[in-house]
Amino acid sequence: MNNKSDGKTVEKIQASGPAKSSITLKVNGVEKRLEVAPWTTLLDLLREYLDLTGTKKGCDHGQCGACTVLVDGRRVNSCLTLAIMKDGAEVVTIEGLAEGDALHPLQQAFIEHDAFQCGYCTPGQICSAVGLMNEGRAKTADEIRELMSGNICRCGAYPNILAAVQEVMLASAGRAKR
């Protein structure tokens, strides 16, 4: 490109940055081969490239939990995760929880307990609660509150979120006993 006004030649500008890399991710049970730039977050990859817009961008700084997904069974903030670093991982989002038309028990419980108003934090809340149950560390209501504190609900639906999570935890503990 020539900048004729001052007669100097401007070096060729590389607008695209370094080349994309190829990674493999299993997303909601389906293997995907993807070309990603190093700076693409897992959140942006899910929403912008895979059209999985259930996962929400809230603060984009790991403070609100709206972007929570499960990576290899563990809940993480997808906004602070570089997709390229998760090559080979298994990702589950809110879209991957239901089995066909049968909702995940946590999805059902959130409806029954009216555990949301605007719903923006809900996918993150539910994925986080799935992670919480995988961890098996929370037994009491206080422990659920503490271990769910990474998911903010600005509508203030916390009592109902707690009730929904508690119900599913109790039911699954009951099933485990039988």
Binding site: P18, M85, E135, R145, G150
Partner: protein
């Protein structure tokens, strides 16, 4: 976020040579702090060297009866490790007092040591900050400084180190193991982080070509009498205004050995071995705790909004020592929740 190139280090030698040849490069593991700083344009690395596939993800026994925590062990895995819970419960408690479970699932042991301050001005590229841009100014000294340091600060920087885990590691006298171009080093925890002085841009004594490989815990874990007391603006998921890691070895009602480290008050986890020595051999009484607290905060200096931290820190030290020393007689962990009244927020 700026554009950058990405390399995945397959072995430690590659990681070290990659970092040594590019001073704009950074290691990345959990990324919970670095990605955030990159989104804010505070960190603008030319390349990221992904170290997550290096073999530092184990917790192992050391020859002297301690534990070696691999630098890539996540905060969650460390906090819930059976041996750590049993022998070093202070560490578990400190880790679980910080961040959220999502972040703890991502964040690593080495990364926790390397995280940067959460000073608002450090994050705000529109304001001067000596830590972000050396030689500009400290905006916090005459600005909003409610969360800032009261001990060991300088005219150049009054930022605090944000970690909870590091406060416990300081009290327990852990050792940081690093590897660089010139070989391996073991850095005592007290010497790992720096005070700001006239070079607040440098948080630690880690050299540019070095990588943290592990944190070693000594055999002594103070598992009988310990407390991590964290005072913050909300009950969960907030940084400490003041925190205290108290670890005691008791001999009946007397203190045989005391360890104290404070978080949220300085550019590094704050220890005062003189104050600890004042407690050794003394009865575990409120008066003795108060003397130690006064000694720790003797040279404390507030900058306006954070003046309250001086009294708060004194009270937190006394309370942490009371809780830690009372553990045995209460037949287990002192639980503040039991002492709450019904109308207090949970």
């Amino acid at each position: 976020m700026n554009n950058f190139s990405y390399t995945r280090a397959g072995d430690i030698a590659t990681a070290v040579s990659e970092i040594a040849r590019d001073n704009e490069a950074k290691f990345i593991a959990g990324g919970t702090n670095l990605i955030d700083l990159m989104k804010e344009n505070v960190a603008r690395p030319s390349r990221l060297i992904d170290i997550t596939r290096l073999p530092f993800d184990k917790i192992e026994e050391t020859e002297d009866g301690g534990l070696r925590i691999g630098a890539l062990v996540t905060n969650t895995d460390l906090a819930y490790d059976e041996q750590v819970e049993k022998r070093y419960p202070l560490i578990s408690e400190a880790i679980l007092a910080g961040a959220s479970q999502q972040l703890r699932n991502m964040a690593t042991t080495g990364g926790n040591l390397m995280q940067r301050t959460r000073c608002y001005y450090f994050y705000d590229t529109a304001t001067p900050c000596n830590k972000r841009e050396p030689g500009t100014a400290c905006s916090a000294i005459n600005g909003f400084n409610r969360i800032h340091a009261i001990l060991g600060a300088s005219e150049h920087c009054i930022a605090t180190h944000p970690s909870d885990m590091c406060v416990a590691l300081a009290a327990l006298e852990a050792t940081v193991r690093v590897t660089g171009k010139d070989g391996d080093r073991a850095i005592p925890f007290a010497e790992f982080h720096r005070l700001p002085g006239d070079a607040p841009q440098t948080d630690t004594n880690l050299r540019a070509d070095e990588i943290i490989t592990a944190v070693d815990l000594p055999a002594k874990g103070f598992a009988e009498n310990y407390t991590y007391l964290k005072v913050r603006d909300r009950a969960s998921y907030a940084f400490a205004l003041v925190s205290v890691a108290a670890a005691l070895e008791m001999d009946g009602s007397a203190i045989k050995e005391a360890r104290l480290a404070l978080g949220g008050v300085a550019h590094k986890p704050w220890r005062n071995t003189e104050a600890e020595a004042m407690l050794n051999g003394k009865e575990a009484t409120k008066e003795n705790f108060q003397k130690a607290a006064e000694a720790i905060l003797r040279d404390a200096k507030g900058f306006g909004h954070n003046d309250f931290k001086i009294e708060l820190a004194k009270r937190a030290v006394v309370r942490a020592l009371r809780q830690a020393s009372a553990m045995g007689e209460m037949g287990g962990k002192y639980d503040d929740k039991l002492h709450r009244t019904a109308d207090q927020p949970r």
